[in-house]
Symmetry: C2
Subunit: 414 residues, 2 copies
């Protein structure tokens, strides 16, 4: 076999794994109990590795928030001083089988979604999705959302889930894609269906009303709750597809607000990075492009498995959030076919004649066509201390793919 044949064979294997994932929600547990290597005074974050001093404002704000939430510091100044003296270990989520939206911060007592890929036996983790602390806000109101999650909502859902014996997520994903979700920025259907299922589980588990009712209100009122589950699914699906020799398929895209990084199956756990790009988006009242930080979050794991902008054509309801026309959205999704390896056999989009979602970004195709992957994303402030300020679309920087392709050549062309 020549190298081209070896690559084709490897990519077929990679995409075969990417399209045969069977994600099951098996637990909702404190991160320190379940995430390998998350221990002591440690916080994991989104994107490729980065030290405190180079972190963007929003990620710094979110880290300060987690330090306060854990009670490791009494106030923001104390937290900041600890971080400047490297008293808190900071490592990427992706180095711990985990992902997190926006700043992505996970600390030991924060409950995480635990998703097992039953086809391969691996587990992945994602934190709770909310619109404040993960965007860099760290006041008491922002931290209260995390405490309610830790003390009421997560333990109640955990109890109900355990009684149910786990929840298969592919049926929800398949249905949601037929109901106008793209599973990155739009989770109206998946969240509604998930709430339906958990409402039954809560009733089955005889959970007392004083915990059941606030949890039902949380579930039903949170139209992005499934994003955390979808991201854990994405990570659980991509991990078994990494480390396949000769494969040029992307297995992670992640941003820390300073750098955008990708991982490629045949290149193992190495990151190929470039500066995080500017998001083209719509802003919430009171904010504008001048306030915006750069692209941030592990949530591009969605696009890595074929959701998000890769499924945008099937989710026109999202356009009030990210801008553009239904025709643009269909065109974006069709364009992504040019840089991917295959289509998904069961994740299908009715608006495109029930075509499968495009899956398996090939770094060769990205560089050859000069078509950068499109990503649906939210926008955080450039400074610490703010909630979500907008949402939009962004293109992954081409230099990540060029860098990876050069490294691939160096590794395999000898």
């Amino acid at each position: 076999m020549d190298i081209k044949q070896k690559i084709e064979k490897a990519n077929k294997e990679t995409v075969g794994r990417l399209t045969s994932g069977d994600p099951v929600l098996v637990d909702i547990a404190p991160a320190g109990e379940v995430i390998p290597g998350l221990e002591g005074m440690m916080i994991t974050h989104s994107g490729p590795p980065i030290e405190w001093g180079r972190m963007c404002g929003a990620q710094q704000g979110a880290i300060i928030g987690m330090v306060l939430y854990e009670g490791w510091a009494a106030n923001p100044d104390e937290a900041r001083a600890m971080l400047e003296k490297d008293k808190i270990r900071l490592e990427p989520n992706h180095h711990h089988d985990a992902v997190g939206p926006m700043a992505g911060t996970i600390s030991p007592t924060a409950p995480v979604w635990v998703v097992e890929n039953r086809a391969f036996g691996n587990r992945a983790f994602c934190r709770q999705v909310e619109g404040r602390q993960q965007f860099g806000e760290f006041n008491e109101d922002a931290l209260d959302g995390l405490r309610q999650w830790r003390d009421v909502w997560a333990p109640t859902l955990r109890e109900a889930l355990q009684k149910m014996g786990g929840l298969e997520l592919n049926p929800i994903i398949i249905q949601a894609l037929q109901m106008g979700d793209e599973l990155h920025n739009r989770h109206s259907a998946s969240s509604s269906i998930f709430a339906n299922k958990m409402a039954i589980a809560i009733s089955e588990a005889d959970i007392p009303k004083e915990r059941a009712l606030p949890t039902l209100y949380y579930l039903v009122g949170h139209n992005l709750i499934f994003l955390g589950l979808a991201m854990a699914c994405g990570k659980a699906i991509t991990d078994p597809a990494s480390g396949i020799e000769y494969s040029t398929v992307v297995t992670a895209m992640a941003r820390n607000g300073t750098e955008f990084g990708i991982r490629v199956s045949g290149l193992g756990n190495e990151w190929y990075t470039a500066q995080a790009p500017v998001v083209d988006g719509l802003y919430l009242p009171g904010y504008s492009a001048g306030d915006a930080g750069l692209d941030m979050g592990d949530s591009a794991i969605a696009e890595t498995v074929g959701w998000g902008a890769f499924s945008l054509g099937g989710a026109p309801g999202i356009l009030t959030l990210v801008g553009g026309t239904p025709e643009d959205a269909l065109e974006h999704t069709r364009e992504m076919r040019k840089i991917t390896t295959s289509t998904h056999p069961t994740y299908r989009m009715p608006a495109l004649g029930f075509a499968g979602t495009s899956v398996g970004i090939d770094i060769r195709k990205v560089v050859q066509t000069n078509i950068n992957p499109i990503i649906d994303t939210a926008i955080a402030h450039k400074d610490p201390g703010y909630p979500i300020i907008g949402a939009g679309l962004v293109r992954a920087p081409i230099d990540c793919f060029k860098g990876a392709l050069i490294a691939f050549g160096q590794k395999y062309n000898n």
Copy 2:
């Protein structure tokens, strides 16, 4: 003002009423308690008036089912004998502020959705949606679904709803149209959202688990449960728009499986009928076009207010059920703009650039353009005793509109 100006002014008023409806679910009550004039041994049915002898097989089967369900006869033969001797009064739902899907049968002890149009103060009613008795099946299994509804599900929902003080339905309708429902044959989103709201209401109302849990399973497992609510909304919205002198806007389309009938605002409660058409559809395994009855049901009230086929372009997920391509669906929806008076200000379709749904079918435009209204529909068997056998699209017969236009001329041109 010449007659044309009078018509334009009247149609503006009619459509103003059609687009300002504010439907609220206020009760779920036994039909005999709430539907005006439904009393004694009486069953209401879908479509324009029809006597037992001319009813199609499916509607006869459904009526036999209701007679057995009410305990007025001990077996089907006895029921049939009573019906042949006119012992049971049969009247159209539309003559009693009500609507019903398929055979549409409503009898006194059957609980119905009670929807109040808060903008005008009127109430409308619709029966439970299921896939057996309303299609003409009358065995014990088919009737058991009606009994569970009467004894467990409806009383539980009623209790929860009363504690909640009613449920506004426009927010659900607006959201569902953005999630790929067309609110006639596809109710995946509306049903899921409704189930979540009722799950909270059931928890709030402290309903014991032995009734709460089966009701939650019923709600969550029934992806067309909202059809009954949507139909009651449609009737509650159209009734205040009827009886406006000089208006050429259609206020009802309904079929009894033998005849298709329409009502026109400026022509009051008169029916203009033609033979019920053949449905162009997809069949469930074991059935084919040779088994099919003709078009049936009051559910075309959905198209009358701009849903169903008039919103098909926004609901491509339905195409596995009714056939066709996403492009056909968009084209059908665009075509309906040619025969309608206005677009809805808040019922919007993301796939059509958030355009409002087309509302207010004008009999003049139908006749002038020769474009018959398209309707999403289900298919019943031609003989009594069968459940649902398929679904598809149908065109309203042009002769109803021609007949109405002639009558309009006779009434107003003198």
